[in-house]
């Protein structure tokens, strides 16, 4: 999946994975700074994405006042 097509949900999951990595045995100080920068960038993207998202609310055309 490309960076562009990632959903907010995927970005949130990715951020959670980064947080988990910091608390896991896989943590390495050598890699930590890059991971921290990734987390910061993700938080920025999540804010940007969430701020611009709009709901698409549509009233269905079907009438429910009688069986049809």
């Amino acid at each position: 999946m490309s960076e562009v097509s990632k959903t907010v949900q995927e970005k949130l999951s990715e951020l959670s994975e980064l947080v988990a990595w910091f608390q896991s045995a896989a943590f390495k100080l050598e890699d930590a700074f890059d991971k921290f920068k990734q987390a910061e960038a993700l938080a920025e993207e999540i804010e940007k994405d969430l701020t611009k998202l709009k709901n698409d609310i549509k009233v269905v055309k079907k009438k429910f006042d009688a069986e049809n």
Partner: protein, 365 residues
Amino acid sequence: MENNPLQLSVSEFVALTNQTLEYAYPTVSVVGEVTEFRISQGKWVSFKLKDSEAVIGCFLTTYQLRMPVEDGMKLLVVANPRLNNKGFFSLNVRSMKPVGEGSIKKGFELLKAKLEAEGLFAPERKRRLPRVPQHVAVIASTESAGYVDFCKIINERWGGMSVEVAHTQVQGAPAPDQMIRAIRYFNSLEVLPEVLVIVRGGGSAEDLMAFNDEPLARAIAESRIPTLVGVGHEVDNTLADMVADVRAATPTNAAEILVPDRNEIIRAAHQQAASLGHQLVQSIDEYSARTKEQLEAAFRRIREKLDENFERLATLRLATAQLNPENVLKRGYALLRGDVKLGATVEIETLHEIATAEVKNVRSK
């Protein structure tokens, strides 16, 4: 006319009476107290409506019976008056509802007990709603304040959802069937919505009666799509609420349950990133402290080794010094150089002088 009255057969008279009734009173609404309530063969329902002075029979099918009824309940029936071929006048009931607080409550309690006995309110039936749904179905009156509140809150809190709305009546006799049709419509879609929301703002007990309808409660319980129902105010409890997977106190609360607050999520995302920064600094501090400790330990070890070696060196120097011939001369001894044989010349070195001597005598010790 009196001299020449219309002459009819009994059947013709019954038919004419029904025609006249149909013309004069196509439908009537009659309020009375239920007595002699009976269900025959699981199909036919009969009872009498009475007041202090009169009584009239009523008929309907079990299919039309939308709530449990007991003798003593006060009902409003909408019916067609009919004279049947056996000469009995009755009301063919089209719809009915309890009237008065006592009867509404009684009907509610009877149906609640019935549905509860069937396990429709059981906690183990309740399904969880997705945390962040993408596709949501809503059943509401699009003209109602409750619907407007619901939309306002979901738009404030979240975005990116596809929301399909079925506009139905949410009060009055047609409301339950309209909502049931909408539930069936959404459940028949090729791609099912992830959540089915039913909302309606506050109202009187009578306004909310549509949500205590047995077929509607069953349709909600049978929905393949997890349901979220927010009807009335906090204090209102309807059967639709009780059978739903998740109950919301109000339409606004339904919106709050349906979607997370984007501002909270943004705040949490930044907090998470910041916490990683703190962890990083802490890890660097810990790493530095550990490295410092290791270096100090290494220096200590080197110092110990050096001290050991200096000590050894001092011992060796002492030993070496003791072997120095000059030190022997200092103790008064002399050093003899040359062959010790009779007539030979030898050199004798003391601490301060060197003398030459001739060997005059040699003897073995």
